[in-house]
């Protein structure tokens, strides 16, 4: 069997979009909009009618349909997202509080998705507490599960909204609501997962209290994870055809690329302005769009990196 690879990606965004000036007028930004524009942001998608679950379902249904994957061929469903918010319109917290305090808390989105999608053979696992690295963790887990013969085809689905009362900015990054589905297949013809690396530093679990320490640790730890991923893949920084980023400030990417020794021109950053950051899985959304716009050709070497509160640094090396 060839190495597991990513054989399909689809994503769903809320219909409503707000630009920076609208967000500023609504008091949903901490920083000056002009500064955020300098960092590459233009606006974000904000759920009004949608729920995290509806976006997850849309993304997964689209992916299965596009790839013509029979639902019963899925061996494992990995669902990422906060279960208590999954069915709340626009991810609102009022309903979530009632849900947590009643037996409705056992109405899990992962098992409902298994039923709604007709994944009759799929066992189901839910992942949480990994923030923006959740989908990475699911893909890594899928790869490992396939590698040991426990599954041949794994569907990873992530849907996460930005917290309702937190505005739309997290450490100078504008954030969209989104859902994303990734199919990891033991027999994938493209997007072979060559290597991965991940570091969790629990010391930084309290992001609000250790904000400066996290800013300082972000870059050296990110460089370390990227270096380690490239080492495991047997690639040099110059071998990387495209860096498929998480959609944080382009400025922070320029600094990180300087540290990692990867030329700036290899950053595929077209979605930073269009979508902004998502908790659901920027890198995979970007990978899909980079394939669709012809940027990525078979054999290209792709580096995906993300950071998530918690704190987690993670990267994948993928051969297109």
């Amino acid at each position: 069997m060839s190495a597991p690879g990513i054989s399909g990606i689809a994503y769903a965004l809320p219909a409503h979009r707000r630009d920076l000036s609208e967000l500023a007028a609504l008091g949903q930004l901490e920083s000056d909009p002009s500064l955020l524009a300098q960092f590459g942001f233009d606006g974000v998608h904000v759920a009004e009618e949608e729920t995290p679950y509806s976006l997850a379902t849309t993304a997964a249904t689209t992916m299965l349909s596009e790839q013509r994957v029979p639902p019963e061929s899925i061996d494992l469903l990995l669902y990422c997202g906060t279960s208590s918010l999954a069915f709340a319109p626009h991810g609102g917290t009022a309903d979530a509080a009632c849900l947590l305090a009643s037996t409705r808390r056992f109405q899990y989105p992962a098992t409902r998705l298994q039923y709604d999608l007709g994944l009759e053979r799929a066992s189901t696992i839910a992942l949480d507490q990994l923030a923006c690295t959740s989908l990475f963790a699911a893909v890594r887990l899928a790869r490992a599960t396939i590698a040991v013969g426990e599954a041949r085809r794994v569907l990873c689905v992530s849907a996460e909204f930005f917290p309702e009362c937190a505005g739309r900015e997290a450490i100078f990054n504008c954030t969209s609501d989104a859902g994303c589905a990734v199919l990891v297949d033991g027999g994938a013809q493209r997007n072979r997962i060559v290597a991965s690396a991940e570091i969790t530093k629990g010391y930084y679990w309290d992001a609000d209290a250790l904000r400066n320490e996290i800013v300082a640790s972000y870059f050296p730890t990110a460089k370390h994870v990227i270096d380690e991923t490239l080492r495991r893949a047997g690639w040099s920084p110059n071998d990387v055809t495209w860096v498929i980023p998480h959609n944080v400030s382009v400025r922070s990417w320029e600094i990180l690329l300087g540290l990692a020794g990867v030329p700036r021109a290899r950053l595929w950053d077209r979605n930073v302005s269009r979508i902004g950051h998502t908790l659901a899985g920027d890198n995979f959304i970007n990978l899909r769009d980079a394939i669709d716009d012809g940027s990525i050709r078979p054999g290209d070497r792709l580096l995906l990196f993300s950071y998530g509160y918690g704190a987690h640094w993670t990267a994948l090396a993928v051969e297109a």
Binding site: E213, T221, G258
Partner: protein, 366 residues
């Protein structure tokens, strides 16, 4: 030197200057010293030295003014008795504006040179500069007057360079002594005075240093007070040091920056409580990437991290400008060189952080 003559010394209230003065007095029982201080009431350590030796006269004055704000009687005494000046006083803040740095470091030196010209039988102007007058130059830095073409990392370096020019031009007989950054008292690593290097280390230990400028070949050239004070005391008045520029630096014994960061990390990581925090070793980056990081912190950082980053920005760019200080003249005159940094770096870390008796001070230069 005539039996009745004296030296005038500035900067003797500092750790290095006090050590130099004590060595000079101990080495020559006939030597008398006039010590220029800004406020004699806050100079207990010098008063102690004066009491012990009985050959020290404190005079209050201010380098920033022509005539040093000395009384006419004091000026007359100096003109009559002083045959050498050893000038250590400096404004050592790396964050000064050029204008502020020049007031003490350049203009102050000029005022002393004017006084020296008025002294009868004046023999030697010994100027304690800094190795970092080399500024942004890279490669082997010789013991010669620097070229200004490369520019400087901070106003301190430039103001000291300009003072060197004045010394060479205005003094009939001069010696320029250029120490690297002093980081501890001696090979045992005791630290009596904290400076910018210690502050940077403290930030590294606290997990607040994201990256450091540096490239392959970057080294850290630091020295001990013991070596520098001994060298100044031995060379300042010596005939064979006349017209010489002398690097009081580790030179070839400087520590490669990567090795220094690894050694420092390994030392701290012996503490399991520190190690489990997962603080990363700061990677070395080129100056352009570091500048982008600094700019970002200025734009988005809170007051605390801005202050921390600024405290580094006035000197860490030197780390990305690899240079080796040639110490040929120093070795020829002293018969030996400075102790290699490797010999005292770990003891210093041990004393400073593991034993836990360091307090934060204002960043200071050599």
């Amino acid at each position: 030197m005539p039996e009745s003559r004296s030296i005038l010394i500035t900067g003797a209230t500092g750790l290095l200057g006090r050590s130099v003065l004590q060595r000079l007095l101990a080495a020559d029982a006939r030597l008398r010293a006039v010590v220029l201080v800004r406020d004699s009431s806050s100079c207990a350590s010098i008063a102690d030295t004066a009491n012990v030796h009985g050959r020290v006269t404190l005079v209050e004055g201010d380098l920033r003014s022509a005539g040093l704000c000395l009384t006419s009687e004091t000026l007359a005494m100096i003109r009559r008795q002083v045959s050498a000046i050893i000038h250590l006083a400096a404004s050592t803040s790396f964050s000064n504006t050029l204008e502020d740095a020049r007031v003490v470091n350049t203009t102050g030196t000029l005022h002393l040179l004017e006084l020296a010209r008025e002294c009868r039988g004046f023999e030697r102007f010994a100027y304690v500069s800094t190795a970092f007058v080399a500024g942004r130059r890279t490669g082997v830095i010789t013991e010669e007057l620097a070229s200004p073409s490369a520019g400087w990392v901070n106003a301190y370096e430039q103001s000291k360079y300009e003072a060197e020019l004045f010394v060479c031009r205005e003094a009939a007989d001069w010696t320029i002594l250029r120490p690297a950054t002093v980081v501890c008292d001696d090979r045992n690593g005791a630290v009596s005075q904290l400076n910018a290097v210690h502050r940077a280390l403290r930030l590294y230990r606290a997990g607040l240093v994201a990256m450091m400028p540096g490239i392959n070949g970057s080294t850290l050239d630091v020295v001990t007070t013991e070596f520098v004070a001994d060298a100044i005391a031995r060379l300042a008045l010596r005939d064979d040091a006349r017209g010489k520029i002398v690097h009081l630096c580790a030179g070839e014994g400087a520590l490669p920056l990567g090795e220094l960061l690894d050694m420092t990390y390994a030392c701290w990581a012996r503490d399991s409580e520190w190690r489990r925090r997962g603080i990363a070793r700061p990677p070395l980056v080129d100056l352009a990437t570091y500048a982008l990081f600094e700019r970002s912190i200025e734009e988005v950082g809170d007051a605390s991290i801005k202050r921390l980053t600024r405290s580094l920005s006035h000197f860490v760019p030197q780390l990305a400008l690899p240079k080796v200080f040639d110490t040929t003249t120093a070795r020829a005159l002293l018969g030996d060189g400075a102790p290699p940094v490797r010999d005292f770096w770990l003891p210093m870390l041990q004393r400073l952080f593991v034993d836990g008796h360091a307090t934060l001070g204002t960043p200071r230069a050599a």
